[in-house]
Amino acid sequence: MLSIAAFVQGRHAQAFPSFGSERTGAPVVAFCRIDDKEIRLREPILAPDVLIVQDPTLLHQVDVFQGLQPDGFVLINTKRTFDDLGLADISSRYRHERLTTVPATEIAMKHIGRPLPNAVLLGGFAALSGLITLDAVAHAIRDKFSGKVAEGNVAAASEAFDYVKRQMEELAHA
């Protein structure tokens, strides 16, 4: 959906999953490149500019920050803060105003009634990175889903967008 949102804004985008055992609960990774020209490169993303962590229980099992650019952005799906998550060390290595959290699962429960944080996190991503607009996220959601599911996700993404925007303003003044 991120690649669709980028496409809606006239950009080239390439999205692909890490390919593995597709069982529920298994750790998975997915990648997205966004560019203004055709994307020919097919290697996995080794040094991301933006990192979205959907499941904070992975934080201490997998080195999810591996390769993250020094001025990279981070968005973690959690109610807690970086310090609460035991990530004080990470906070000190990166630009603190780019390290954000959003309770995407809770927001999804409120709007969709199911713990599906994916589209919600895209709203947060739009606020955090400025690479895509909230309108483009809504467009991508409606491209994939319809009816109540689509509108619930759009509302949830929009709430996450506002949440992350506010948090970034607070971080900027902290």
């Binding site: 980028a6 809606v8 390439q14 999205a15 055992s21 020919r40 490169l41 097919r42 290697e43």
Partner: protein, 417 residues
Amino acid sequence: MLKQTEGSHAVAEAVALSRPEVICAYPISPQTHIVEGLGELVKDGTLAPCEFINVESEFAAMSVAIGSSAAGARTYTATASQGLLFMAEAVYNASGLGLPIVMTVANRAIGAPINIWNDHSDSMSQRDCGWIQLFAESNQEAVDLHIQAFKLAEELSMPVMVCMDGFILTHAYERVDIPSQADVDAFLPPYEPRQVLDTSDPVSIGAMVGPEAFMEVRYLAHAKQLMALDVIPRIAEEFSARFGRNSGGLIRTYQTDDAETIVIALGSVLGTLKDTIDEMRADGIKIGVLGIQSFRPFPIAAVRAVLQGAKKFVVLEKSFSVGLGGVVSTDVRLAMTGIGLKGYTVVAGLGGRAITKASLHRTLREAIADTLPQLTFMDLDWRIVNRQLEREAHMRRSGPIAENLLRDVGAVASKVH
């Protein structure tokens, strides 16, 4: 229409635009999304008339495809990996009978060890089966090749395999231009069979042929593949004239005009190679890429013409003939007969191992410096290879190799605490 879509879905749309009348398939990753997409299009009436047949195996899929094609229906199927192996007998029959079936192979490794990831072992195992084998570099090319494949297959009355990298292409979302139905209809005329099972004009198809004519029937298959060397570029030109982009053909070159070193490859890795070559060119290295779109028929003359001006070549391939080395390399070396060109074979990306720009930079620079072994396995983990060799040297019951290596890399999924 330009859209951002999954490779498999784009291929399903392209196949549907080609108006197949029978689709049969058995699900296997990473091909499944293609036939799922087609199943939906048949069910909702978008693709009609078309019969979608669920079969019990890949062997049945190809057998049904043979029957429906012989009955005069435009026929499509898709498979990968072990699925292609399981249908192998029928694959040979389809080409031997001269039936213009189109099949997608979503390239995937072959077990054991079982592995669902991408390499080219599956379609390469059917290298000599008599089908035309085309390789797609991108999802756009995969779409375009399928539309061209039906035209090519039916013009020559022989089956065509469109090979696209499993997962890397089939599961990637990228920008794809899906042609209009009117344009595809104008490009691809209705199927007019050379042979058909027709009760009003009965024939038999599939006679037993003894020593008196077997070689001749086989030679005619070869003669058709040689004709394909002319037909493939012609169809690619017709496609380009109507749809406004270059897709398919026998080969495609990138920065080869003044290149001293030419890298030869098939499929999606060509994109990563082009990015790598741009960076090497910026460092003043004269290097180019030769993409092979048509692996069967193998365009010997075209490959030779491109390589003639170079000093050395590197074949980068996702396939491997155990006990020999490269598969594609062997064909390239045949094309080079009589030209004194230094050549290297680099086997890479087996079973989904990522082919990175960093590794390509290192490997290609070693080839240019002539420090690369003639046969190289890119990014091979010698540590675990040597540990296993030592284990086997020291004890008789060294145990299952795959499990040992997984334990050594520390990633075994089960039974290790």
